[in-house]
Structures are given as C-alpha cells and as structure tokens.
C-alpha cells in the first residue's frame, strides 16, 4: 500500500497544519478484517422460532494500516456500524476473523477472544460515538468520566488520574479547570471533545469513530474534524471512520470503503475512488450529493427504488435492481471483491468496461482541476465585497 495513487502529484508539505497528502500510509496492517459476517436472526411465530437471517455484514474484508484513516461509508442499513462494532467486539461476529496487531507485536483474533482476554485489548482500541448527549453520564463530572477508563485499567491514584485528565483536556482543546464540571454545562461540540478525550485516555492505537461529527452543527463539525485530524497526526493513530456524509469522508480519509447491503462495493485510496469510481453505486452516491454552488445546478440524480432489504436481498449482485448498467450476469452471479488496479478493489462484473463519472466530471468545466467552488477562501467575489476575511482561526 506504499504506492502513491496514480495521477496525483504528491502535494508539498507547506501547510503546517494539514498534510494534504495523498499517500496512503504503508507498513504492516494494524487491523486485518477477513470475511467478517454478522447475521441477526429474525424470530417469528408462537415459539419465536428463527424464520430468517438479516445479513447485516456479509463477507467483509479490509485492512487498516498504522497511521491510516479508513472510512466505511454507505446509506443506512448498509452494515457500516455493525462492522465497526464487530471490530471492537461490541457485537460477536457470526463468522470471520478480526486480526489486530498488538503493541507487543503479537497478532490476536479479536473475534475469537474470550471476554476476559478482551479487557486488556480495549486499552488499544477505543470508540467515539455519534451522540455526545447520550454517551456521557450526566451524574459524573469530567474527571470521573475521563478518569474512569484509567481507573478500570489500574490507575488508582486520584492525583495521577487528575494529572492525566488535565493533560487530555488540554489535548482536545478544553481548559483543565473544566474537569470538575458536569456534562450539562457543555455544548455539543465540547461534549464531543470530552468523548474524544475519554477515548484517548488509554493511548489507544485504533480509534473507531461511529458518525463522530454527524450530530454536530456545521460550524462545530469543522472544529471536531480538525481536532480528529490533528490528533491522528500527533499521536499516529489509526481511525476506522464510519460516516454517511461523502464530503466528510473525502475530507478525512486515506482510503474509503463503500458499503452496500452488508458488502463492500468498492475500496480504494480516497482520491482514486472519488475521481475514478469503478462501481456504479459509488458514482451514483456522488451524483446524489447536492453541490453547494448555485451556479452548478444539475439535476440531482437519485437512484430508482430503495436500498435492498438485507433480510431478503436480491439475487446476484445486490445492487442490480437499481443499477443502470445491470445485465443478465448481474442478476444471477454475485460479484466478488477483486483488485482492479493496485489498491483499487471493486465488486462489479462490469468494472473494466464502464466509464463512470467521478467528481472531476461533475464539475461544469470537466477539466478535473481543483476548483474552490465558490468557497470564500479563494472566491474573488468575497474579497471586494467585504473587509478581508480572517484566515483559518
């Protein structure tokens, strides 16, 4: 995975805050998910017999490298959250392997560990939840909330915990004096910082972020995205980032896995995926995102029909009933995820022949060049309309 995505000139490291770098971090994978399956039984009838299976995650494989941000993206019900929860063993997978390389170099299969063996492992993998209102105990102050994982893992001295909590609050951009306050005193964005501080308390190597910014207002969302990126770089963390918003995924990830009805449709380096999507579903997702520019009003292209039911998926390729390119083979034969180009995996029978639109083609010029899209930093119109805008604060 050490190769640069083809066709993209590596950006110079000029910005001290962002790397803007297309390189996918290489090295041995920290996490290897192999053929992961999670099926939920459907019970019915008088005796609550199992009458069917919801295949929430159905044969999913991917790697997360050291220092990498891998995103799982898809619409509701695609299995992205279930996958993330299986990785942490918040759910027990039905089948498959979740191989995690521990700090001591040993590789363990998280899917098969016993409960007692999981606890030491959870020092190294942590989760950030979506809802910062539901994930903090209102009866505990920040010292107790952030200090609890420390206590559980053996930091019993109160002073040691206070020192560490102060350090963590500093790290996420909150004042250490806040440690004696309770969650209700904080706004959504601040609470999410607390959630992040708690997740980082035990110096994890893998952080699973499940829709970590979805519940936040846009002005606060940008702050948290910046914080997540900054922390990732400073602490060389790896993220498994679960999200439904393509713009955010594009912004934060090194690589992206697009999921559809429990399967990975496409997995590729971010730039590659967005510029040259190989799966019709990936392309369709991009075309459905409304562009924040009134000069580019194209008909939004939705997909016909609805997301397939994972309890009763269609035959062949799960996407075929909505796919504009479906042919006979797609109706009968289930495509496998295969490597089309180095690092670019896709599960579509027709991936080679199709020429799909990426984000470059969606711009009016069609030149594929980066355009600021009317955004104020580079938009000429904003400069003369008002006193000079402040740069990034």
């Amino acid at each position: 995975m050490s190769e640069t995505a083809p066709g993209s000139a590596p950006a110079e490291r000029t910005d001290h805050r962002g790397d803007g770098d297309d390189r996918v971090p290489g090295g041995p994978p920290l996490l290897q998910v192999r053929n992961l399956k999670k099926h939920f039984p459907i019970t019915g009838g008088f005796f609550q017999r199992v009458v069917g299976q919801v295949r929430a995650v159905d044969d999913v494989s991917f790697d997360v490298h050291e220092g990498e941000i891998l995103s799982l993206v898809g619409e509701s019900g695609c299995g992205k959250t279930t996958t993330a929860r299986c990785v942490l063993r918040a759910l027990d997978p039905t089948a498959g392997e979740v191989l995690f390389r521990r700090a001591d170099g040993e590789t363990v299969d998280v899917a098969k560990l016993r409960e007692s063996e999981l606890r030491p492992l959870w020092r190294e993998m942590q989760m950030i939840f979506q809802d910062p209102f539901g994930s903090l105990n209102p009866r505990k102050n920040l010292l107790e909330i952030i200090g609890e994982p420390l206590y559980v893992q053996g930091v019993t001295s109160r002073q040691a915990r206070m020192d560490r909590v102060a350090e963590l609050l500093n790290l996420v951009g909150l004042r250490p004096e806040y440690m004696h306050r309770f969650p209700h005193a904080f706004s959504g964005g601040q609470r999410q910082r607390v959630v992040i501080a708690r997740a980082l308390a035990l110096e994890p190597r893998l952080v699973v972020a499940d829709e970590a910014v979805s519940a936040l207002d846009v002005s606060v969302q940008a702050q948290i995205l910046n914080l997540l990126l900054d922390l990732q770089r400073r602490l060389n963390l790896s993220y498994l980032f679960v999200a439904h918003d393509l713009s955010i995924v594009k912004h934060i990830s090194h690589r992206v896995a697009v999921m559809y009805v429990g399967k990975i449709a496409e997995l590729a380096p971010t730039d590659d995926l967005f510029r040259r999507p190989k799966h019709p579903y990936t392309s369709a997702l991009m075309k459905a995102v409304p562009v924040a520019d009134p000069d580019h009003r194209a008909a939004l292209q939705g997909l016909p029909g609805e997301v397939a039911n994972p309890a009763d998926p269609p035959s062949g390729c799960y996407f075929h009933p909505r796919c504009p390119f479906a042919e006979e083979r797609c109706r009968t034969e289930t495509p496998q995820l295969r490597e089309l180009a180095p690092g670019h995996h896709v599960s579509c029978h027709r991936a080679e022949e199709l020429d799909l639109d990426g984000i470059g083609d969606l711009e009016s010029g069609g030149d594929g060049a980066e355009r600021p899209f009317g955004r104020a930093p580079a938009a000429p119109a904003s400069a003369d309309a008002a006193p000079p805008a402040e740069g990034p604060s």
């Binding site: 805050r17 962002g18 803007g20 770098d21 619409e75 706004s187 959504g188 207002d217 846009v218 002005s219 606060v220 969302q221 940008a222 995205l225 439904h244 393509l246 713009s247 955010i248 594009k250 912004h251 934060i252 730039d271 967005f274 369709a284 997702l285 075309k287 459905a288 995102v289 409304p290 562009v291 924040a292 520019d293 009134p294 000069d295 580019h296 009003r297 008909a299 939004l300 292209q301 939705g302 997909l303 609805e306 997301v307 984000i359 009016s364 980066e370 600021p372 899209f373 009317g374 955004r375 104020a376 938009a379 119109a381 309309a385 008002a386 805008a389 402040e390 740069g391 990034p392 604060s393």
Partner: protein, 369 residues
C-alpha cells in the same frame, strides 16, 4: 428557477456583477410578508427569545431557503407563521401578512396571521388549505391506524367542498403526481408499510392535496438517505416548476439550499443575519457568519486532510444571549465597543442585498438590548 439555464451559460463573474447591480428581480407582490416577528418562550429559567425580530418576503412561485444551525429559530419562525407554536411559546410582536388573490375557486385573502386565534376557524382554514407543511419526520405525520389514502381524503374533505368519492379520486391523483408507484393500491397502504422515500412522497401528496399556495418544507430530507434525498428534491423542483408553488425550504444543508432556493435567508440565534438572491449569498456573502458557514463545510472538491477554517466557540445557550450582535463573540471581525453594544439593523448598501452587520453600514436598531 426558470432563468437558471440561461444564467449558467454566462460567465459566472459577469453574471455575479450584473446580479449585484440590478435590483433583485422577484416575481410579483409577496404572498407572505413577515415583519418584526418575535416569538418568545417563557420558561421557568427565563425568556428564550427563539425568534427575535425576523423580516422576510415570500413571492409567488419562489423557493425561499431559510438556513441556519440548530437553535437559530428557523423552524420556530415557520411554526409561528402557521400558528403552530406550542405553549409556552408566544408571538409577542410582529406582523405576518398573508395575501392571496382570488382564484382556484377560493376567495381572495388578505390577513395578518399573527392576529388570528391559534385554534380559531380562520387559521384552521388557511393551515393545510393555503399553507401546507411538509414536516421533517415522515413517520410522525401519519397515524399508523389509518391508511394513508384515508388520511389524505380526510384533509381534502376538511378543506374542499367535494364528496368522498371525488376526494378519493383527488387523493389518488396526488399520489400519482408525487411519483408513488401503483397509487390505486398504495391508497390503502399504511405508513409503516412504506419505505422512507415512499413515505416522504405520501407526506408531500398529503401537503399538496388541497392545492396550497405556500408549501413549508421543514428539513424534509434530513431523515432520509442521500440517493433517496435526491429523488425527493427533484420531485419538489418539478412541483415548483409545474405548479408555480411558493416554497419555504428550511434546512441546515447548504448544498440543498444552493440547488433549490431562489432567495436565501440566513439566521443565527433568532435573527436574520443576511438575506438575498442565492447567488449573492454563495458567491458574495457579506456577513461574517455566512462566510464562516460556507467555509466550514468540507467540499467534495477541496483538498483533503487540511485544516478547515472554523468559527471559534459554539452557539450560545438561548438563555445567555450575547448583547449587541448575537454573533459578535465568535466573529473574527468583531469591533469592540460597537458590535457588543448595539444590534445592527438590516440595511442594504449600494444596492446589495440587506445585511445586519456594522462592517457594511452604521445603522443600529433602536430597541436593541
């Protein structure tokens, strides 16, 4: 919307200048005029000024986008217009003038909705019949005990002088109009039998059933997936084009606003910060808050993994409103001694769209706290 094809052909910069110098051409007399609207909530801890002096006009055949973050009062503004604000909320000041010429078998109406009794006959006739709502949560707008068809028929019988048979015909027609497959059979379906996208279509059919002049869409696509959202937005665009409906579109999604709205109102903490034609708002935002909003959304077309420009701080608690301009504690251009003392009035400079900011003019509001 009709001008869009020709406009996009032009050079964007030139078009932008032309737009700024020309008076914004908005069709006809406003159908809805809101002036100085204030809706306050008297709670035990204090008075929440959810809407605190809002002015805007909605013109016939126009899509008006109201954009802002949570707590900015965008939903309460439109709930006030429909007189759906619940206790302890109350309209304490302002005028909501609704004017509709005669037509469609309905008499002309010219009324100040703010003066009507919230439960009275007059507002109940207008609500649903003249001004219809597409709510955010489609599951909550239908009763699970009755079929969607029966509920649409009920709305038609309430507002129109037709028999049950005719009402059923209209209901099926509306279901077909919003792209419901097999409308004859779906008439008897229950809301829980429909998928998210179809349920939202049924809600739109219900809203359209009495041929309203104004459609209020309150975050109609927030709860649904992006590919389904695209279908619903296209449907709303078609309806607007084919029927010339006036739509008030409430959302926090700038992408949706850019794609749909003709005119945009930007709100923050119960106040309008800036309003104007959609292209001015996106290409020449005047208010620092509008600029901040536009910058802080990551774009599909921007450089990845670089720090996004952010606004410092977060939205203040509604009970602890800052004095002066509500945005000044977070504003990068705030002028001490000015912005924290007086509330800037909504005023336009050099023919540009109106903005409430001292960076652009010096007019303060007299009754500012």
């Amino acid at each position: 919307m009709q001008q869009t094809p020709t406009r996009t052909d032009r050079d964007p910069d030139r078009a932008r200048d032309a737009d700024r110098t020309a008076a914004p051409e908005r069709p006809g007399e406003p159908i809805l005029s809101v002036r100085g609207l204030k809706t306050h909530f008297a709670t035990d801890e204090g008075v929440v000024r959810a809407v605190d002096g809002v002015d805007f006009d909605l013109h016939p055949g126009e899509v008006l986008g109201i954009v802002g973050e949570s707590g900015c009062g965008k939903s309460i503004t439109m709930k006030s217009v429909m007189r759906l604000v619940q206790h302890p909320g109350r309209i304490v000041a302002g005028e909501i003038r609704y004017r509709r010429p005669a037509g469609d078998g309905k008499k002309a109406i010219d009324v100040d909705l703010a003066t009507l009794r919230p439960q009275g006959r007059a507002i109940r006739r207008i609500r649903g019949g003249d001004i219809a709502l597409i709510p955010q949560e489609p599951m909550a707008s239908f009763s699970p005990l009755h079929s969607i068809g029966d509920q649409i028929v009920e709305a038609i019988l309430l507002h129109q002088r037709v028999g049950r048979r005719e009402a059923k015909r209209i209901a099926i027609e509306k279901l077909a109009e919003v792209g419901m497959p097999n409308p004859q059979q779906r008439f008897d379906a229950y809301s829980w039998q429909l998928s998210g996208g179809l349920r939202q279509r049924a809600v739109i059919a219900l809203a359209l059933s009495c041929n309203p002049s104004v459609l209020v869409a309150d975050e109609p696509t927030t709860a649904i997936d992006v590919t389904t959202q695209a279908q619903v937005l296209e449907l709303l665009k078609d309806l607007q084009r084919d029927h010339g409906s006036s739509i008030v579109f409430i959302t926090h999604d700038l992408g949706v606003i850019a794609q749909l709205a003709d005119h945009v109102v930007v709100m923050y903490l119960g106040r309008v910060m800036e309003q104007g034609p959609v292209r001015d708002i996106f290409h020449a935002p005047q208010h620092p808050y509008t600029r901040a909003l536009l910058q802080s959304v990551p774009s599909l077309h921007a450089e990845p993994r670089v720090a996004l420009p952010t606004v410092s701080g977060s939205i203040p608690h509604p009970l602890h409103r800052p004095t002066g301009c509500p945005f000044h504690p977070r504003c990068p251009d705030a002028m001490p001694g000015r912005c924290d003392v007086a509330m800037p009035a909504m005023a336009s400079v050099d023919g540009r769209p109106p903005v409430a900011c001292f960076l652009h003019h010096d007019q303060a509001e007299e009754d500012a706290a």
